[in-house]
Symmetry: C2
Amino acid sequence: MIPKADRLHNVTEYYFSKKLREVAALRKQGKPIINMAIGSPDLPPPAAVVEALEHTARQKGAHQYQSYQGIPPLRSAMAAFYHQHYGLKLCPDSEVLPLMGSKEGIMHISMAFVNPGDSVLIPNPGYPTYASVTELVGAKALCYELRASNNWLPDLEALEKQDLSKVRLMWLNYPHMPTGAAASEEDFKALINFARRHKILLVNDNPYSFVLQDHPESILSVPGADGVAIELNSLSKTFNMAGWRVGMVAGNAQIIQAILQVKSNMDSGMFLGIQHGAIAALESPKSWFKELNATYARRRALVWKIMDRLQCTYAKNRGGLFVWGRLPEGKKAIPFSDALLYEKSVFITPGSIFGTMGESYIRASLCISEADLSEVENRLQTRNI
Amino acid sequence: MIPKADRLHNVTEYYFSKKLREVAALRKQGKPIINMAIGSPDLPPPAAVVEALEHTARQKGAHQYQSYQGIPPLRSAMAAFYHQHYGLKLCPDSEVLPLMGSKEGIMHISMAFVNPGDSVLIPNPGYPTYASVTELVGAKALCYELRASNNWLPDLEALEKQDLSKVRLMWLNYPHMPTGAAASEEDFKALINFARRHKILLVNDNPYSFVLQDHPESILSVPGADGVAIELNSLSKTFNMAGWRVGMVAGNAQIIQAILQVKSNMDSGMFLGIQHGAIAALESPKSWFKELNATYARRRALVWKIMDRLQCTYAKNRGGLFVWGRLPEGKKAIPFSDALLYEKSVFITPGSIFGTMGESYIRASLCISEADLSEVENRLQTRNI
């Protein structure tokens, strides 16, 4: 057979891809597995979203190719959404680009700005795709360590002692997954100054800013961000549309243009019905967020109880779709998670899959019904694992 | 601003992206432009497709993340489609992978098998994305010339005289766009032997095999193809679903696995409603193809009349979604196309955008109503341009 390209040698199969096969096999054996590992919203999107999809799919012309940039009303809805919620004015024609999910944006941005041999700063712990995409474009993933003691923010002083000459891009993700930590305007300012000094493009991946957050924040609203920072955003968690694949990248027009240059050579515009569904979602009233967060808050209270039973500690002032629990002294994430799975039929993500700094943690999702969470709590009452 | 990556320096804005802005501007000035340039099917997909989408979008769980590999019923429907129409048995679990349109597959395949510095064989004339993706992955596009005198097939003897040591991949596209030429089983066999001798992965991009073709052909049905050739296929033209973004790649399981390794790091599974719409399309009865082709045959007869008026010559035994017309002696594609646009408000694609071998040709799409085609014919009756 034709050999694979070298860039694939360092990219391994995604942890979940393997582990979920094992979970499926356990279920087949009759084990009543409750999966608390995945952040895939189980609640439906606003009703208007499905109605807009259905209405559009019945229109003539709905089935033809769409523009790479998305229809103008979608870009306008995205700009209006940024204005309403983050207080930021974006030009809908040049400063916002719809994507088929923000995940594909990680590749587009890396292709647009990172050369083979360059380095990219990546959070540890953090979303594993930043590192694998960096490897795929032939660059080096340079991890920066995040610690609870520093509120899960990068230690810029320590970073500046390193050789940053080859660094072209820095991935940020605030509110942060898996820890739920937020960055303040002051934190973003320090990051922007750091990036400006070292000619680094900052990319804030921002899909969690509405989940259990009272005040959604965007790095683009921070003075000095223009031309230094861009932002990925997504409808997946904000509107329970993870499967629809709708995201966006926003920021400086020249940067967006370079990303479009990559994107237009890789894919085509998204299905018109999905675009109109996305517009309906973006126009949701503030009550949408309030109701959704009330559900997540009830679930989080149950997850806290589960963490208590597991003798894990956690911060109560965190947002996002997960609870990040610190394991009892001396415990390691993978054996702890496996023991839970095999002894209690409960699957919680080991923190180590997000990097070495997650080795003493587990991550529990809030995308689980209250009934299932209560069942988990009951299972754990018998004895601690 | 942060400079763009080097890989973008050779990738220019797509011809249509620029030209369609001009067409839009002309329309704004009141010019009654008829656009015969784009191969975006204007007819609706089978009714069952939209019904399946609507039904699915109303189900619980329809909005969550989907597997990278697509749901098993979609892979089974793709395998059954290959069996029914190409007489080929594929394993639905390992030999077929759904894609968000076959265009994204061009990038996935190139990332999976082409190293920076490698060369890739690319048809001239041919679909421009093969070359731009090759540049994006840091490889060299080595064009092979296709001529009417050789039935638009590569001259393998001439190719073998070149240094092929760096060639990893060869793009084929039969039935061929823009010319409509087909490859016989003998032609495919010769290509497979050539590829095997030089350790080249053959990729046949096969979106046109049902359009004005009586017998759809797949390179994978040819003896010896396994492990040497893979195939991209698409629902865009076959079922009028270009905007839905559903395609597939089929072939040897190990090769598919490598492509999945790239894909799973770049995107997520496609919207469940689109997957069920695709299943409904793939299960269409043979009468679907017959009726669709009857429409295209009527349109093609009108396009032939238009070509006659333009004093262009063409082969009548071609399939596909376009008529490829040779210009009158001495004429060049871009000035000819521009004159038609400015003098007659008719936009037909200049053949040169598909490569130097298309400089004496124009490409007319069949995705235009008979009324519009008759109007074009009327406009041309006044005088030849």
